[in-house]
């Protein structure tokens, strides 16, 4: 790789690395080990470096990068789900204390609320919404990244927003009811 291309790659790396890490972390939704998002981001950039920045069409590198990162994230989620299913069964067998709904609510309240609610969305909707709201991609660009049709992106983004709005409303109502009982 020539010097100019390396400089171009470095500029692109510093420009997109934080956003890519955030996108991966939100897709993971707190699942996976610490630093997994950065590892996946690094792996994605490494793939881009091996592919060659200039071998891609003009302006395509960013979408290519997110597409690869999403695929890596899905692989990680699959691995995590497999491990979690096995571990969850073991926990169900050995767990003596089942948290009450109030305990679960308090735990959820302590976590990052947005990320916690994103976890409840299907992966396609979650990815489409994140790319739209955080990365400000158009439906066409999102479709390119997710390798789906533009119409599906429209629907997924809308469904994701609606679902989060409903859950957010439930949470607000629960908080209001709780504060009313306390008062």
């Amino acid at each position: 790789m020539v010097r100019d291309e390396e400089d171009e790659f470095a500029v692109m790396f510093h420009e997109f690395y934080p956003g890519l890490c955030r996108f991966i972390a939100c897709l993971l939704g707190g699942r996976g080990a610490s630093g997994t998002a950065q590892d996946i981001a690094q792996e994605s950039f490494l793939q881009l470096h091996r592919t060659g920045l200039r071998s891609l069409p003009e302006g395509e590198a960013r979408f290519w990068l997110y597409r690869v990162a999403r695929n890596f994230t899905l692989n990680e989620l699959n691995r995590h789900n497999t491990r979690h299913r096995l571990f969850g069964k073991m926990v169900d067998v050995f767990r003596a204390h089942v948290p009450t709904p109030e305990e679960e609510f308090e735990m959820a309240e302590r976590k990052d609320q947005v990320i916690d609610m994103l976890k409840t969305l299907p992966e396609q909707q979650r990815a489409a919404l994140l790319l739209r709201e955080q990365e400000e991609m158009s439906y066409r660009e999102i479709a390119s990244v997710l390798n789906v049709s533009e119409g599906k992106v429209k629907v997924d983004v809308f469904r994701a927003r609606t679902a989060l709005r409903e859950r957010w409303g439930k949470r607000e109502r629960a908080l209001a009811q709780r504060s009313g009982q306390a008062g």
Binding site: M1, E6, F9, A10, F13, H14, Y17, P18, C21, R22, A25, C26, A33, S34, G35, A37, Q38, D39, A41, Q42, E43, F45, L46, H49, R50, D112, Q113, V114, I115, L129, L130, R132, E133, Q134, S138, Y139, K154, V155, V157, F158, R161, T162, L164, R165, W168, G169
Partner: protein, 387 residues
């Protein structure tokens, strides 16, 4: 949120509607409260998602870029480092027991300092032990010399490496011959102890003169041991004559006043010094006259024997020099003082010294005329005792 326009509101805030359709939705928003509420909620959600920030390690980011640009050959390593980066930083800030962690160079310096301190302590202990040994060795001949010379003569003239059994048997007529035969060192110790016992008993019974006389008779019998030394015949003969002259000095002591114990002590000290000077003279002659081999090196067995004798004489030299200084005998003190460095050099020679080292010692001896001075001193002391 039952309005069918809600999805279009979602598309509107994304800017994905055509101009005419967007104007139509905006007009609907003015009339529909649910859609306005939905738009507000969607925009609030957007703000929350967009404001979400991930705490990133800038150092890890730079390191990742560096490794990616290097070709990503060690990408797995970087991956592991990224995963372990917070842990490593935490451990790097504190060492054992909360002390600051040392770099390898600092750790090496610390170990070096500790090693130096340990070596210093060990050398200090060794020097103290050596001082004690010198004191013990120097103290041993003094009492025996003060009392009589029976045991002292046997002890000093018995070379440990020359097992002359017959001589030892002749010398030790009171049952100590077998010990001397098997272990000359032990025999010397027993002789010394025996001499101490006898000195005490003789002081009580007043038989010191007879003891000294018997010692005088035995001294010539010890002289054949000198023949075993690797020296030339004239030197051995002169040494033998000197020993006899010393014994004559003992006879002079016998003739002296019995009540002057202090004088006996002084005379015994002089005798010891005279014997020491003779032995040192023999050693230096032996060392000087030794013939090197073709490579210019001396035979290791001869050298080892010279080193052993030199070490023994060095201890005696120190004690006698101090005694001479305490008595104010400046010539003897000066002579022994000049002899001491040569003895030290010979005693400290390596097992196979370079010819240059031996030559240097010989040169120093020659410059100081040390052998001649020793010989003159021996002759003077012999002539003085002959009166």
């Amino acid at each position: 949120m039952k309005c069918v326009w809600t999805q279009k509101v979602s598309h509107l805030i994304d800017g994905e509607l055509a101009h005419a359709e967007a104007r139509e939705v905006e007009r609907h928003l003015e009339a529909c409260g649910d859609c306005r509420e939905a738009r507000e909620d969607f925009l609030l959600l957007r703000r929350q998602l967009a404001s979400y920030r991930l705490d990133l390690d800038a150092f890890a980011e730079r390191r990742a870029l560096k490794h990616i640009l290097s070709g990503g050959k060690d990408a797995a390593k970087v991956k592991r480092e990224n995963a372990a980066a917070p842990v490593r930083r935490r451990y790097a800030s504190a060492g054992v027991f909360g002390m600051p962690r040392l770099s390898p160079v600092g750790l090496a310096a610390l170990l070096l300092i500790l090693f130096g301190v340990a070596v210093g302590v060990v050398s200090l202990l060794n020097s103290r032990r050596q001082t004690v040994e010198i004191a013990k060795t120097g103290a041993t001949p003094a009492p025996s010399a003060n009392a009589n010379n029976e045991a002292n003569t046997g002890a000093q003239t018995a070379p440990p490496t020359v097992p002359n059994d017959s001589t030892a048997r002749d010398n030790k007529s009171d049952g100590g011959a077998s010990v001397a035969e098997n272990n000359p060192k032990q025999a010397r110790t027993e002789l010394t102890n025996d001499a101490r016992r006898r000195s005490v008993s003789s002081a009580r019974t007043g038989n010191r003169a007879r003891r000294i006389e018997s010692a005088g008779r035995k001294v010539p019998q010890t002289s054949p041991r000198l023949d075993a030394m690797p020296i030339d015949a004239p030197v051995a003969e002169s040494a033998r004559n000197d020993v006899e002259s010393v014994d004559n000095g003992i006879g002079a002591v016998e003739a002296s006043d019995n009540d002057a114990a202090r004088r006996v002590v002084e005379v015994s000290g002089e005798i010891d010094a005279a014997r020491h000077v003779e032995q040192a003279q023999l050693l230096l002659r032996s060392f000087r006259n030794a013939r090197p081999d073709e490579q210019g090196r001396r035979a290791s067995s001869d050298l080892a024997y010279d080193k052993q004798r030199s070490k023994k004489l060095l201890y005696q030299n120190i004690v006698l020099r101090r005694e001479a200084a305490s008595r104010g005998n400046l010539p003897v003190e000066s002579l022994l003082d000049s002899l001491e460095p040569i003895l030290i050099d010979i005693a400290n020679l390596p097992d196979r010294p370079a010819p240059a080292e031996v030559r240097a010692i010989n040169e120093r001896m020659r410059r100081q005329n040390l052998v001649a001075m020793l010989q003159i001193s021996a002759v003077e002391s012999a002539s003085a005792r002959s009166y």
